[in-house]
Chain length 259, copies 2
Amino acid sequence: MSITFVHFMLTKHRKQSILAALKRDGQVIAKALSASFEVSEDTIRRDLRELASEGLLQRVHGGALPSSPAVGDFVQRQQINTVAKLAIARKAVELMLPGQVAILDGGTTCVLLARHLPPTLEATIVTHSPSVAVELVNHPGIEVVMIGGRLFKHSMVAVGAAAIEAITHIRADVYFMGVTGIHPTAGLSTGDLEEAYIKRALAARAAEVVVLASTEKVNAASAYVIAEVTAANTVVVERKTPRALTDPLAALGLTILHA
Amino acid sequence: MSITFVHFMLTKHRKQSILAALKRDGQVIAKALSASFEVSEDTIRRDLRELASEGLLQRVHGGALPSSPAVGDFVQRQQINTVAKLAIARKAVELMLPGQVAILDGGTTCVLLARHLPPTLEATIVTHSPSVAVELVNHPGIEVVMIGGRLFKHSMVAVGAAAIEAITHIRADVYFMGVTGIHPTAGLSTGDLEEAYIKRALAARAAEVVVLASTEKVNAASAYVIAEVTAANTVVVERKTPRALTDPLAALGLTILHA
DNA sequence: ATTGACATTGCACGATATTGCACGATACGG
DNA sequence: CCGTATCGTGCAATATCGTGCAATGTCAAT
């Protein structure tokens, strides 16, 4: 039985090792794999064909390449679920009034919001995200204030004591907040502790808090709590988000905007 | 499995690398690609032809250019005099040592410097330019610290009292400074008063100051003085910059590096 | 224990892809 | 206008690919 198990694992383990090597080197070469595993190139080709048919890698002449380049980095996350986020961003833009001071969170939705600010709008944008700042470079009417601090690489926003300190000197009319979860009882939450601190500090400095949440975030909760849901005044959700999900939030006094 | 040293490159991967190099450098040269990939120029020409037919780049005599040159205000300035600035950036990169804390100015040359930091380098980069910060998003080994403040639109860097205040909490090994003029008697100068304040504050917080100056900046002076030239320790200039221009600076004790 | 179904592997072989070289054509710079 | 560098094409050599098939090993049922 153990012999059986070992043999079964050898094939599968070899494929896993191929994927590991691929992730490590960015490419694998059939000939080299053949030598490493001491199997024929035919076997390797078979493995690669099968892995390719499962979408785990991309078959090319001589070996294989990753199916999706650089998974998980910030630039790539910026691409997913774009249509929904774009709709939310466009709707949220309507909440900005001329002359206001607005805080923009990091996150892809807020970058889209920045990109779609009306070209004629004159206002001040406070942000702790360099991406948002860069997005506003060519906007003629927007004054940009950058919150500094150590940059949390995963989400590319300033975090830490320096950022918290800088935030205490800000007073804003509205804060557009991105979350990974908004839940009637669990509250507003996000996946990183440092980010939660920052968002809480930002929310405390804005007269109105607008939460931007795609459907999967509604009635969900992440590890770190930012604040009670009542800390938010308005929630912008997708058009397709069911009323059943948003009604409990509306019952708590929040304004629900469907994009 | 033993570590297999990849001594050659898959065709498709080579094409991806060509595109990456093109995006990074703004141009590629057939001969240089041939040498770096250790294949014949014919193969490179074939690659370039095929990539051009896919619309991924624009074929020109001797190499290739990006198919769609990015447009924009700041982005556009980023394109001018690229080769000279790139050479300076590449030379300046050599001054960075592992584990160091370095301050990077705003400006196109510093963005190029950030882009060309060795992928394996582990260090801390302090910057008041969101563009530089965004450039470092996907660098695995670089810790980024953002100096916040009001963003001066023309050059896209944080300026003002908040930025000055934040800088006082920093201590760096080296400061890569961009200037619009470096003159033996007029000193280091720039075109904006706020920027001059910032650069002066940054220079005061770094153990070593490296000035990056393309030829037209040497022996030139702008409206606002940052400091005496002796505030700088090293000046990186273009290879073509005449000794006659740099000798007066060297006489003042500055190290001159020709890119 | 034996047998048959099934999985995995290696080999043969024709098909396809990639590469480098030769050669004539074309573009660039002085 | 000419020399040089670069370019594109044809071609041959080599490498890689996919498929069919036989050999070996494993598993489950008898």
